[in-house]
Symmetry: C2
Subunit: 315 residues, 2 copies
């Protein structure tokens, strides 16, 4: 195999009550990456399409480049690689854009090198990409993007990632308003202390969310999609947050909150039809104050990354 | 029916990571109550056996008396009731002694009055008993005692109690050292603020615990039985806490922590044999510093209260 094309899904982190511990993958949007072996050593980014020139082209300053490079170092390979990245989602949107690129990169290089590592063992390399993009090696986007489905990051030290089943018909709505929030800023405004009362409330919702997903029990999921710690702070960075959330709930969403650190908002619904209706209502909410937005409706992605092109077998 | 005898189970609240939101019932110990109808109105406590005279005999100052009284008021009955309470567990032990009495009382009176309410709807009356005993209407002992099994108190306002399945073979060890901790004191020493870091760690363990119980996955349960918020503070009230906990883990327990507000300690194990071995090791740990203790080993109680005596059908 000399080249490979891989898709990795966008992700919704936090999922209302699960700050830094919950995340799930969606079928759309996502990033595509193309890797090609070359004789000259080193990882080189040939092109990035769809970022309007905003992402660094230098491999060691790019999330996918870092992930590929640390993987190759780990397996002791000096294989040269040319990278073409197709960004198919907005940057700084709260949809795990950097994570999707890193996951696509490390999944692709593992396949290209004959799959020396298991998928789960690719996580640390993708997290190195996140460290570059976010300042810390968070896993709540890379883990669901890599593993698919709904995941819990139970612990970072040691890393303990748990996959939780989701109800079959459940759909996700994502609305990305055309405004920007910097992830580092969104983290900076959070307090370092939480009241015991809010901690207990949030733990109850975290427990309810997992039980609701696993039973499954849509009403319980709905009741548990409440965030008393992060959303009240971060939502002030998103114009019309309360109105858009209410529009989602009024349209039948189980719940609605900020995707990752925003500004994208997400909702969960019982079926595709509701999820679509919820999305249009959310878009209308933003448009009422002149904010345009992109809408994505999809099932929970269960697969993680996938190989897109047929493998070209050349010696 | 003129009289009834009911058993209600003891409970382990908090369950390591789930402060104020987790609780489960055990088959042993528990309290027994006998109710008898009488012509004279009012609730009267005829006798309390096994409390060494420490519990109030005045019905409206007794947790079972309060629960029965508020239930009768709710259904608009002036039925006179004589109560005999058989305390079969230590008071102030962290095993939900007051909750078991309240649950036994309200379950018994509901049966005696022809079951006007469903079991779940008895919870508020048992919680009134808790308000008397603990100063606030906590549900993390009364809910599992009433419903059986492992429960999550997702929310108090409105009350939202969720029952979660547990692995079939799982057994609980309880060791009650012969020392006393006042529930109000144990709550008073807790801080009002929790660091964001500890909140996130605890949420991860709460999610892991629910997923571990429901999958079921014993290793995940074990990894999730970690409390970084409450145990480090409350354990200082229990002599030899660290040594006893380590003895439990060394003997094969999945995890070990404080039962409720202590001083009882509990452990969970994969089977009865391990749970018994764990218990003896924990007792030896206390005995090393001269503290005697009671040992209880049982499955997770799945039934809640049960009627013990055959119902005497008299007109």
């Amino acid at each position: 195999m000399n080249s490979i094309r891989v898709f990795a899904p966008a992700t919704v982190a936090n999922v209302a009550c699960g700050f830094d511990i919950f995340g799930f993958a969606v079928d759309s949007p996502g990033d595509e990456i193309v890797l090609r072996k070359r004789d000259k050593p080193g990882v080189e980014i040939i092109d990035i399409i769809g970022d309007e020139g905003r992402l660094p082209r230098e491999a060691m300053r790019n999330t996918a480049g870092i992930a590929i490079q640390t993987f190759l170092q780990h397996i002791g390979s000096e294989q040269g690689i040319e990278v073409t990245l197709h960004k198919q989602m907005p940057l700084g949107s709260g949809l795990g854009s950097s994570a999707a690129s890193a996951v696509a990169g490390v999944f692709a290089i593992n396949e290209l090198m004959g799959r020396p590592l298991k998928t789960m063992d690719l996580l640390p390399f993708a997290m190195e990409g996140e460290r570059l993009a976010c300042g810390s090696a968070h896993a709540d986007n890379v883990a669901p993007s890599l593993l698919g489905g709904f995941v819990v990051i139970r612990s970072y030290n040691p890393l303990d990632v748990i996959r939780v089943n989701t109800p079959d018909g459940m759909h996700c709505t994502i609305v990305h308003p055309d405004i920007e929030v910097n992830t580092k800023d969104a983290r900076f405004i959070l307090k370092n202390e939480v009241s015991m009362k809010n901690t207990i409330t949030q733990m109850g919702n975290v427990a309810g969310m997992i039980a609701g997903l696993m039973k499954p029990d849509y009403d319980l999921i709905s009741r548990s999609m409440v965030d008393v710690i992060i959303e009240p702070v971060r939502s002030i960075l998103i114009p019309e947050f309360n109105e858009v959330k209410q529009a989602a709930l009024d349209s039948g969403a189980l719940g609605c909150s900020i995707s990752g650190s925003g500004p994208s908002m997400f909702a969960l619904s019982r079926d595709a039809e509701t999820a679509q209706r919820v999305g249009l209502a959310m878009q209308a909410g933003f448009l009422a104050v002149g904010i345009t937005s992109e809408l994505y409706v999809s099932e929970i992605n269960q697969q993680g990354p996938k190989i897109l092109s047929p493998v070209t077998a050349t010696a």
